[in-house]
Amino acid sequence: MTVDAGRSLLIIAVCAACTQLERALPFLMFGRRAVPRVVSYLGRILPMAVMTVLVIYCLRGTSFASAGSCVPQLAAAAVTAGLHLWKRSTLLSIVGGTACYMLLVQLVFV
């Protein structure tokens, strides 16, 4: 520990408070009156849009500078998507894609 225990607790408390504030913000702002139509529009449309951005976020480390920094991600993503479009089994798609990625990063692109 570089900082003391009190300071560490303060950092944890501030991070927790900021995170919880953001999670609660929509409820604090719209909780007591009717939800404006534009907000419910965003609420319906955003999950798909946010999930798209999160997939890109997960793959953000992909770089085309070398095969090892793009082939495992793209191959595993293709396997995941292919399995899912074929069988629509969540567990199979995730296990298949992850196994493909682990094999590639551990055995092929070491």
Binding site: M1, I12, Q73
Partner: protein, 234 residues
């Protein structure tokens, strides 16, 4: 109750698999920084946000003032503001559990809520509360485990974190299958890639979410009909 518990557990298995190496890694890093498993457990339980918790390790190293800590935390987790918007109405029926659902609204709990499909013999509310409970439990327990025994693991789990990427992809594919209009995916995909190329992997998340929300608001006259009215009765 038992059926709901089993269904909730089954739905959270991919998250358990993804959290295991991440939680272990977090616990090991914390103990290396001089924070034992109780610290890891406490932090995971009250913050419940993986990327911020890894960033917090740099705060613990010292030299960062509290105001900076707060701004970094707000920026890194700002995507969470968007998560609640979809559930303002739904959580109204949750009674006191509403506060638990808001507290536990992490990326993973949100993805479970997004992908929820009713199952015969189970209660929607109970399944969702239990699913969020499992997510908190896994993250807290695996973080503590990392502080205790992480260094004893001998097999290589390298690359197992791809499970989270795969989970998000699967959810997106299911959402797209059910959606009448897939334009939001195109909008956010383009904005995400453009922001990533312009701003780099470290800074693109918030701007691309803002750009996506802005474009979707502009497209509301087109999309509000095709997306909302079809889902009103569901």
């Amino acid at each position: 109750m038992k059926a709901s518990f089993a269904y909730a557990f089954r739905r959270t298995i991919p998250i358990m698999v993804g959290f295991f190496p991440l939680g272990i890694a977090y616990g090991i890093l914390m103990s290396a920084a001089g924070y034992n498993f109780l610290w890891s457990g406490l932090t995971s339980f009250v913050v419940l946000a993986g990327s911020l918790q890894f960033l917090m390790l740099t705060f613990f190293a010292g030299g960062v003032n509290i105001a900076t800590v707060a701004v970094m935390a707000l920026l890194l987790n700002s995507r969470h503001i968007f998560y609640g918007i979809s559930y303002i109405d739904k959580f109204k029926n949750y009674g006191p559990w509403k506060y638990f659902m808001i507290y536990s609204l992490s990326d993973e709990s949100y993805s479970l809520l997004c992908s929820y499909k009713p199952l015969e013999g189970t209660d929607d509310k109970t399944v969702n509360i239990m699913s969020s409970g499992f997510v908190c439990f896994y993250w807290t327990v695996f973080s503590m485990l990392g502080g205790l025994v992480g260094e004893l693991i001998t097999f290589s789990t390298k690359g197992i974190d791809f499970a989270l990427t795969a989970l998000f992809m699967v959810i997106l594919l299911d959402q797209m299958k059910d959606a009448e209009n897939k334009l939001p995916v195109l909008v956010s995909g383009v904005s995400g890639v453009v922001c990533l190329l312009l701003l780099g992997p470290g800074n693109f998340l918030l701007p691309s979410l803002m750009a996506t929300a802005a474009v979707l608001l502009l497209l509301r006259p087109v999309l509000d009909k095709t997306v909302c009215d079809n889902r009103e009765d569901v």
